[in-house]
Assembly symmetry: none
Amino acid sequence: MAPSLTEKCRELAVSAMKDGISQAALEVLKQYGYEGLTMDRVAEVAGIAKGSLYHYFRNKQELVTYLFEQTIEPAIQAGEEIFQRVVPAVEKLEAMVRMWFDYFSQHRALFDFLFRDPAVRELCLTSRRSKNGLAIDRFSAILRQGISEGVFRPLDVTYAAEMIIGSLQFVIERQLETGEAHPIEVSVRRLMDIVLHGIGASSASAESPSAIGQRCEAPQVEGKTGESSEPSQVAAE
Amino acid sequence: MAPSLTEKCRELAVSAMKDGISQAALEVLKQYGYEGLTMDRVAEVAGIAKGSLYHYFRNKQELVTYLFEQTIEPAIQAGEEIFQRVVPAVEKLEAMVRMWFDYFSQHRALFDFLFRDPAVRELCLTSRRSKNGLAIDRFSAILRQGISEGVFRPLDVTYAAEMIIGSLQFVIERQLETGEAHPIEVSVRRLMDIVLHGIGASSASAESPSAIGQRCEAPQVEGKTGESSEPSQVAAE
Amino acid sequence: MAPSLTEKCRELAVSAMKDGISQAALEVLKQYGYEGLTMDRVAEVAGIAKGSLYHYFRNKQELVTYLFEQTIEPAIQAGEEIFQRVVPAVEKLEAMVRMWFDYFSQHRALFDFLFRDPAVRELCLTSRRSKNGLAIDRFSAILRQGISEGVFRPLDVTYAAEMIIGSLQFVIERQLETGEAHPIEVSVRRLMDIVLHGIGASSASAESPSAIGQRCEAPQVEGKTGESSEPSQVAAE
Amino acid sequence: MAPSLTEKCRELAVSAMKDGISQAALEVLKQYGYEGLTMDRVAEVAGIAKGSLYHYFRNKQELVTYLFEQTIEPAIQAGEEIFQRVVPAVEKLEAMVRMWFDYFSQHRALFDFLFRDPAVRELCLTSRRSKNGLAIDRFSAILRQGISEGVFRPLDVTYAAEMIIGSLQFVIERQLETGEAHPIEVSVRRLMDIVLHGIGASSASAESPSAIGQRCEAPQVEGKTGESSEPSQVAAE
DNA sequence: CATGAATGAGTGTTCATTCAT
DNA sequence: CATGAATGAACACTCATTCAT
């Protein structure tokens, strides 16, 4: 017999509760950080009794895992969608980068710990690793496509994928940390520029002839305490 | 009155104790992970009474912060030393990258949590931020130097620095995670290659023959001809 | 009005449910032990909702009590049947012993906690006491019969009954504990032998004259740690 | 170096605390039963913080085990002492029975659960089994001695020992349950009488010839002649 | 009646921190 | 100063019981 109406209804309700609880957990996470993510608080924020949490999640780990899966899923899907497009590799890469910029920016508090916290890492190991691996896979595949298209140099695609993802994450992290939020488009363009052409002046030699002649200058320590980050944009685009 | 001899002695003793304790903490950290870093264990490993810890550190946070400072200091110093060298930017950059590769590889267990754990992050926020900032500052300065030398394109040095550091961290993290450890030299070369020339095929061979003869280039670590010749594995695994 | 047919039907249904539930409880008990006897599990095994349990039993205690009554009832009945027989006391006694041996052996998991667990004891106090008392009563009566028959010595029948029951229980318990299961007939015969004739050599003096003369030997501690129980059967059958 | 004075003092203090706590646990046990034996209550009764319990016992199990060992130890010792005496087996047996009567009577609340509770049984399994086994061993040895002395019939000493212990325990239990406390001496004498001579009238046949004619006796397990001469106290009230 | 989600007091256990010695 | 016993607020998790549907 097919699942009765009642059953379907219940299933829906359960799903809704799980989502509600995981949202509450996310809330707690944002507010108190991982160490402050206690079942009590989750229950309180969710507006239910502590014991009720255990109707929906066998234990804390399951809740955290669920939250993780839930949150990362849309990005995974979006990534897949981009990956499936029939467009040049560069375009795909840029779309991917943009998507992750978007996504990371919006879910910072979450990724901040979901991607980084070793404790959670332990918890979600399988899941996380596969997801992280998936991202690398997708980027790798795009790079491979680009290589066959002749627009990317032949190189170790996995390594390059890792570098791109690392750049992406760190840049976003920094932006969120320092609070200065450039428009995403600017960030995407900058990143793509460097990823594609590197920082070397090889092709740009014509662009900055003025620099010629400067040899091996001594470092100019600007008495910075290390915190503040002066404007420092030399040129950008 | 100037600090008496006794005072100086005491100060020294205190410093020694703090170091000993933080080393004990590091030991515990390596063995039990962050969640297992309890004051009891630290005291035990340090061979002193638990209460005594609180003579040297007001609380756990302070101890962790101190440990962080202590551990990252050598890298900071090494970075400073590299930074101060009077050598071309590319060489500096490569030295810096190599140093961090080394350092990260060796202190994985530590950084795994010192750099990543949001809990610790919370604790060491100020410190960490400044250190992270310092790293970015140094990389930025090197990039700036390279730009004036004409070997780097003019670009947002902070942004580029962040990308490089992000790449660095993520690549190392992945290597540690997957267990496959390429020789550091290989990693360094690969990273430098992509950082310098990007992944695009455009600037690679045909487009920038003009780049030949580039001044102040990074010391070609190995038999690399100016011709961007990296064997560079395609397809990876 | 006399109890309507509907009422009777309902009563029957209720009774059936109670039995089903108590059987489920017994199942849980066997599988998980007393500490694992939760209402959830009972409901699950019984195939009904947890809430429904409370329609048939006011609380857990009532359920356990019911289970106790239910389980011991057959033994009680069997005991009554034996008691009613018109046969010599010795035969009755032996039948009784055999019945309890059988019963205990089969319901070990149950009695293990029904008879022994003080928690349950608390719960079933009245019931248990009466049942225990009933057993004692029956044994006592048999003893009394035996005394008038002249086959038993005149003695405090209650006291003797208690001793017999105690022996019975402990012997069975030990067998179940150590795992070695003698055939019930052997156990019954041995027990009856000692119960009837005691351990004294009074009548056996003629049988082991060789032993005479040995007086007050020093104890022979065989360096046993106390766990292992060597065969040690001196004679038995 | 020998343990310093400080160390010895500390050790003593720790021991005292452990005893105090286990006494508190015993108190709780008596008052609330095993299910009510919570660490909170123990702490409260002991007049210390709950956390402090864990300085002295790693967990609840360890506390319960300690309590068990502590409580049973004196009886074990007393049993050993009796066992070592150089006296006839019957005397030993009686002393043993008396000792256990005494001991059980005094520590009823404890044994009630230490010996019987399956939950605790699980906990103290090794310990308990060995202790129980020890008791059986000692009784067995005494019986064996008696057999060589010629005062006991040759029989399975383990089995007989179990029966005696079972009788002992049950009789005491009943007394404590019903509240009627006969003087211990009476109990001891009665038990010894039945243990030694059994309940059968075999030896008393001469004394109560009127009983002759009623046969249908149980099958005489061994080749005992109807004769047999035991005086066999009638007693009973 | 049957249901099962909701409850919340309670369980054993941990650990940063304090303080009398 | 050094000590380590004492603390008590947390923690994750359980489960008998209730009650709206």
